[in-house]
Symmetry: C2
Subunit: 245 residues, 2 copies
């Protein structure tokens, strides 16, 4: 690697602070895939456009990054503004940048996904009409590259839920083993063996079985469990424990 003085000058210029002024600026959007789990089905929150163009088409919720906030904050703000929800699990997914992805203007979209316990949150205060929870299996075609985003989010959720206890974000605080299994069956889109699943979960040793039953589904009733986050974190910290379903 040889020193080349003229290239050196160019490179220096490229890294001078005021050089940035000459560069193109772009709009940065934030789009959110909001997953919810409702008893048996994995759903996503979509809005229906009732104006042109793309009138009648479905879309993810989104907004634009502001100068004084970072992307995580923008994603939280978008979610809060449009649904009233806060304190929700969110994770950055991927950044989409096809030149013509948005016909209106060159827009780059940083995509996030969120996990919500549908039951635990009061959607009376929802800030947006024409928003609906749609079963993932029945999801309509979405505008722009939003379908691609959803596909990637599903893949990420699948992988992540198998190796991290993020699934509990989609469940009520207290849940039955059957609900947990239903959740994983929805996420993975396949049936699991009841006994193997329960044995597996119990072997992880991060749930607390309560002296309380959910009587709403069966006559016998099913014991409720809670996820013991402290215990989980302690195990990770102390023993390098790996959550793995």
């Amino acid at each position: 690697m040889k020193v080349s003085d003229n290239l050196e000058v160019a490179k220096n210029a490229n890294l001078q602070l005021n050089y940035y002024q000459k560069e193109d600026q772009v709009l940065l959007a934030v789009d959110c895939i909001i997953f919810g789990f409702d008893k048996k089905d994995l759903k996503i929150l979509l809005i229906k456009r009732n104006f042109e163009p793309e009138k009648g088409k479905w879309s993810l919720i989104g907004g634009f990054l502001k100068k004084n906030e970072n992307l995580d904050q923008a994603a939280v703000r978008v979610l809060k503004t449009l649904t009233g929800l806060s304190d929700i699990y969110m994770e950055q997914l991927y950044t989409y940048s096809k030149v013509d992805r948005d016909p209106g203007q060159r827009t780059i979209s940083v995509c996030y996904y969120a996990l919500i316990d549908v039951d635990a949150h009061n959607f009376d205060g929802i800030q947006i009409d024409s928003a609906s929870w749609i079963e993932l299996k029945n999801a309509p075609e979405l505008i722009f590259d939003h379908d691609e985003m959803v596909q990637k989010a599903i893949a990420r959720l699948r992988r992540k839920a198998m190796t991290n206890p993020i699934g509990f974000e989609l469940l009520p605080e207290k849940f039955t083993m059957r609900q947990l299994q239903n959740l994983y069956e929805s996420i993975l889109d396949k049936k699991l063996d009841k006994r193997n699943f329960i044995n597996k979960i119990n072997s992880l040793d991060v749930l607390v079985k309560l002296d309380e039953k959910d009587m709403t589904v069966s006559r016998k009733g099913a014991y409720l469990y809670i996820f013991d986050k402290e215990k989980y974190e302690k195990k990770v910290e102390e023993d390098g424990f790996n959550f793995k379903i």
Copy 2:
């Protein structure tokens, strides 16, 4: 979810194409973590700033997104411009957006990582001085949030190399089992058992053993192998094969 007419109006405005004009625009940088494997060591390509501010500090290579290209193209262009390399495995990693991450100007950075076979590429034509391959273990502190980027890239490389045949991107076309094992030991930063490793690799059945030996390391010589990409892709396609080390 109730219809609320005034909110409806606000939302419509938010989605009108010309509304975008009112939104803040930002600079989008692309930074690249370039991994190379050199016989036994995993390295990254860094440049040393020899001007203020942060003079003498090390940095990733980077550039800015232009209006007429997408991020993948920008990453390829940055790599090509600064190193002369093309046709390199690259993957988008994460987007960094702390408000003050770059003291010069509000800049969002979309981070990519690249995998290079150091030997196979001629670095005489490298377009940048003060660039060096640095062993990962000895890597210096980097500017801005570049250390965080590198940490995330390593984690991604580890995970991905265990479940996808991307490791071969870091090796010459023909390689010995020992080289492959050295590579994985570098990536995972731990020793592996020789027999178990070879048995595992052979059970995957995606390598072709050549009638050719590498005589440069031992007196006996070691057989060379190549990765059979077509066979791998066929197995994935037809049998849902999972590469898993």
